[in-house]
Symmetry: C2
Subunit: 242 residues, 2 copies
DNA sequence: TAGTGGTCTAGACCACGTG
DNA sequence: ACGTGGTCTAGACCACTAT
């Protein structure tokens, strides 16, 4: 027997799509409570269990945050739980130590063809280039060079970054309504160049981890590209495999 | 109102525990079909939905493999799907290229205190040290040094490794009934030493990725420690963040 | 006490793979 | 045609949080 409907899509996936749309359009803002499962079930005319399965997937992707007895909240980078959610570097001895960022510069330039291609914009488009250093216990360990498509971050300045005292992603979310949902990283080992050498206070030629990250928001739209040089003599990049 | 039972554990978690026990004890072997959800529900005296939720979690952890219309299979490293499941290195240009391993040596030695600590064995315990090189399109890109607690891999020899033509984890699973379920990696950038230099055919001092992996089987028991030196000029270690 | 997410059930039906 | 996993429903009850 052939399937009746060859383009079959489960109901809960369709509900998930509707929820994603509401999230993307800002019907519920970061940190806010979304309607209860029962309420959403009534709204979409499906059973509570179906809504539940849709929300299950959103929770697994860290788009929302369930709290038993309280409700389901829109995830935000401005909360303890997802602070440094994407940062995989940790000290070999005291893995708990958190970094502090210092912003060095913000420039507005045209995207190179390489950067443009990765960010899925035109080579002539403007991008902000942010440079910063992250220190752990006062010791510089990461130098980041961050490209942000200017069209999405109008009015970004070094001063505003320097005044912000939490994470960059929290800042971008609060100030420009751009939320990083997932990212891909490509990691290589390279030698420290003079620029890195000065900032990370190591000799030219010291091996560094080069972490290239492309971050995406809703609909897999790329909204940030960064290259980070990590000093890994006493720290390492952590990963789990399943 | 206080909870009635402070040590509450959902039924499906208990069922998951029972399934894990059967998997660990080999009631169902790698690659084999496990009983249907209906059958398991009858066996444990719960509803099919409860069994389903237990299996959902096992599937999410890659311990079993569901196939609609066919059944649920015990995951194995000896199948296309999980070949190189833990290998994150891929070519920047042609990410699909698969490596070929060459085994260089197998030694039986006493674990150093450092290795013993990580493998959770006594420093006096014997371990096998395996050295190998992995080539992509004939080019050596990874040099691995692998520690295996001798007690779990009795009779391991270089010859047997050289005769095996699939992945190491497939070999360890088939020959010693040890299945790698998950692993943790710590990644650093280092300079090539003379030993790496000779094997990877690069100059001493070339930056290499040092990937230290600790692999676990059931009950989070560590059963493999390895250090891999990756040449990342045209390849990179891939990771996804959520 | 009320409301939320979390668990569990029983049953119906669908999509998929195999014989 | 049959058996499997996958979806969907409706309803009951539990655990947790806030008021």
């Amino acid at each position: 027997m052939q399937p009746v409907n060859p383009t079959f899509s489960p109901l809960y996936q369709q509900i998930k799509g509707l929820l994603l749309k509401s999230l993307q359009e800002g019907e519920w803002k970061p940190g806010e409570l979304i309607p209860s499962e029962t309420e959403l079930a009534a709204r979409y005319g499906v059973s509570q269990g179906t809504v539940r399965k849709a929300i299950d997937e959103l929770a697994a992707e860290n788009l929302v945050d369930r709290k038993q007895g309280r409700g389901t909240f829109v995830a935000t980078h401005n909360e303890a739980k997802s602070e440094y959610r994407f940062l995989r570097l940790a000290a070999d001895e005291e893995p708990g130590v958190k970094p502090k960022s210092t912003y060095l510069s913000v420039e507005r330039v045209r995207a190179s063809s390489q950067i443009a291609k990765l960010l899925d914009i035109k080579p002539s488009d403007a991008v902000f280039v942010v440079k910063r250093v992250m220190r752990f216990d006062g010791v510089p360990r990461i130098f980041d060079e961050i490209w942000l498509p200017a069209s999405q971050y109008k009015g970004l300045t070094l001063e505003r970054l320097q005044q912000w005292d939490s994470t960059l992603y929290g800042f971008l979310e609060s100030s420009f309504n751009v939320r990083m949902l997932r990212a891909k990283e490509h990691i290589k080992a390279v030698s420290a160049q003079p620029e890195h050498s000065a900032i990370l206070q190591v000799e030219v030629g010291t091996p560094l981890l080069l972490v290239e990250r492309l971050s995406m928001t809703y609909a897999d739209q790329p909204v940030e590209l960064r290259r980070g040089w990590y000093l890994t003599d006493k720290f390492s990049y952590r990963n789990e495999l399943y």
